[in-house]
Symmetry: C2
Subunit: 333 residues, 2 copies
DNA sequence: AATTAGAATGAAATCGTTAAAACAAATTTC
DNA sequence: GAAATTTGTTTTAACGATTTCATTCTAATT
């Protein structure tokens, strides 16, 4: 491995000069700098990031933490997140991926190891981790889950508003008996989406029976089961809002199995707009959550924060989009 | 930040002794070791990995490289891979994720940066990268794509065998006119899967018309288009094998759109067994590719290789499983 | 010619760790 | 009981970079 000392020897200068030249220090004569840069290129010099890190007390890595990698993290999700981040991230930072639930010692999460941390949070249970990071003084951005704490940089999608818009649309299409299959208990997203649903009902003065709220857990399987339960009600709903697309797919499947027509018999709205939403039969009407955008924006915020830790934290809301496809019927009122 | 020197001062020994004690060096008296360990714990000592890396010439990171993060990497895929790796990986290694297509300077991929590299390869185009890594002397395992080079550790699924088994099954069910929607040109997996298909036909002395081979590219969209083309043939096939599930879903969609019954009118077999395969209507018969297993096995191999670079490279084949569901009709011959 | 300011470079210290070599004390060997 | 060995520890030197402080060189000013 070639080091700055090797370059120094060839160039006939001290390694200090080489270091300065290569780092754009203005004290170096242009002539000298050019010569050194040329030699460095010829010798195929690669800076040793460990040495750099040691003296600069920077790690050149930023950590991406999911609530859990093993479970609950839906597939398309992870890709979008990594995509979004890699887009915004400078080349000499590297991105490491972790599951919060598999961290054994919180102590190992230190400023020395991470220049910045992105938390793709899906549950309240992440708070312990989040506050550890904050206490440790590591620049931090929490994505995806709304935090109450105004002291933490937070980027989320406007789930409540998105659902509100979708249900408004459903009501405008003539639906009056609306049910919901809820997300996993304890996840902030579950309550946000439910709130949007309730808000819309309230605004239109529609009653809601507790029978119409089924407890899913974001899994395809739970969507299937809960849909069966809703269909079996004495007065079944005309529209079911599923708190994510996975459950909507499970729900559609339950309908096929029992010969219930979509949207003829019952209408369906999902949430997320996963890749497959477009290709279900009929194509799923759903709320697009801009995960890649959230991640990209979050990464930009993190970079700002790393450059100047004094920046006041803020909450950014990223807008969702209602993707109108074919699973909501227009009813004659 | 507390360092070994701080510990040394408190314990009244030299920092070297502390280093040795903390690293399980047998030269240290048990009594001394215990004392040092206790103090380290009390002082909340966190080893500085950069300093360690610098002197040990190890980076404590292993790199996971995808052909591309932006495109072509199917979603479920990425999760399974990371899941598999995190399972097998020691806690003080960290995993960084990259897209091969977004590397600007191959030079930055050096032994100094990576203790080991896993390549989740999907295309021949990765070869340049792979050989760079090999030349650089970084322990390397290539996953997912079969390599000809016996000098490189390689873990792949037995795609050809898996397809062969599936088509044998289809033929046993009475199918005689079998078509295939192929994967993306240039991907090894495409040719492997086609070969399995052809092998089975040959073994059963079935003719294959070139009309029956449609050129897909692994996208849902291409599955849709190619299925339409196959259905429009004067003598359409009774069964279509799609080289992945995404295309099978596109194909199903095309059938719905044109009122073609599955499996009544045409049968379908996919490949991958993605999460949604089970929930299509009807449920998709497909070949399960054990991505998580491949990744886990690959990681284990990589760890072995990192410990002893002399280990002779080998090819590991991981078996696929035929998931028989509802998209293949039994025909009366 | 002597003085001096400023530009350009170099020497040496530093970051936190491991490791080779040196040393001291305790134990064994003859 | 002196020499040789073992055991436990310290001293010193790396690793490859940045940075502080000192020094040299150049050119302008007196």
């Amino acid at each position: 491995m070639v080091t700055i000392k090797d370059i120094a020897k060839v160039a006939g200068v001290s390694h200090t000069t080489v270091s300065r030249a290569l780092n754009g220090n203005p004290l170096i004569k242009k002539e000298t700098r050019d010569k050194i840069e040329k030699i460095a290129a010829e010798l195929n010099y690669i800076p040793n990031f460990n040495a750099k890190s040691l003296v600069m007390k920077k790690s050149y890595t930023i950590g991406l933490f999911f609530s859990s990698i093993d479970q609950g993290t839906s597939a398309s999700f992870l890709v979008d997140v990594i995509k979004g981040i890699n887009h915004a991230l400078d080349e000499n930072y590297s991105l490491t991926v972790h599951g919060i639930d598999s961290i054994k010692h919180l102590d190992s999460i230190s400023p020395q190891r991470f220049d910045g941390i992105l938390v793709m949070s899906q549950s309240d249970a992440d708070n312990e981790f989040i506050y550890h990071v904050k206490r440790a003084g590591i620049p931090l951005v929490v994505l995806n889950r709304h935090l109450e704490d105004p002291g933490i940089m937070n980027v989320v999608s406007d789930d409540k508003g998105g659902v509100r818009e979708a249900i408004d649309y459903a009501i405008a299409q003539g639906h009056r008996r609306l049910a919901m299959i809820e997300g996993r208990a304890g996840f902030k997203s579950s309550t946000e989406r439910k709130q949007g649903f309730l808000d819309s009902l309230l605004a239109h003065s529609l009653a809601s029976s507790s029978d119409y709220f089924a407890a899913g857990d974001y899994s395809i399987e739970s969507g299937h089961q809960m849909m069966n339960r809703l269909l079996a009600l004495p007065v079944p709903p005309t529209l079911v809002f599923c708190a994510n697309d996975d459950m909507a797919i499970g729900a559609m499947n339950a309908c096929y199995a029992t010969g219930v027509a979509i949207p003829g018999h019952v209408s369906l709205i999902g949430f997320d707009d996963i890749v497959f939403a477009k290709y279900t039969n009929p194509a799923l009407t759903t709320i697009r959550r801009p995960i890649a955008d959230i991640s990209e924006l979050g990464t930009e915020k993190l970079i700002e924060l790393m450059q100047d830790p004094q920046i006041p934290p803020e909450q950014s809301l990223v807008k969702t989009t209602l993707m109108i496809r074919q699973t909501v019927a227009k009813l004659e009122v």
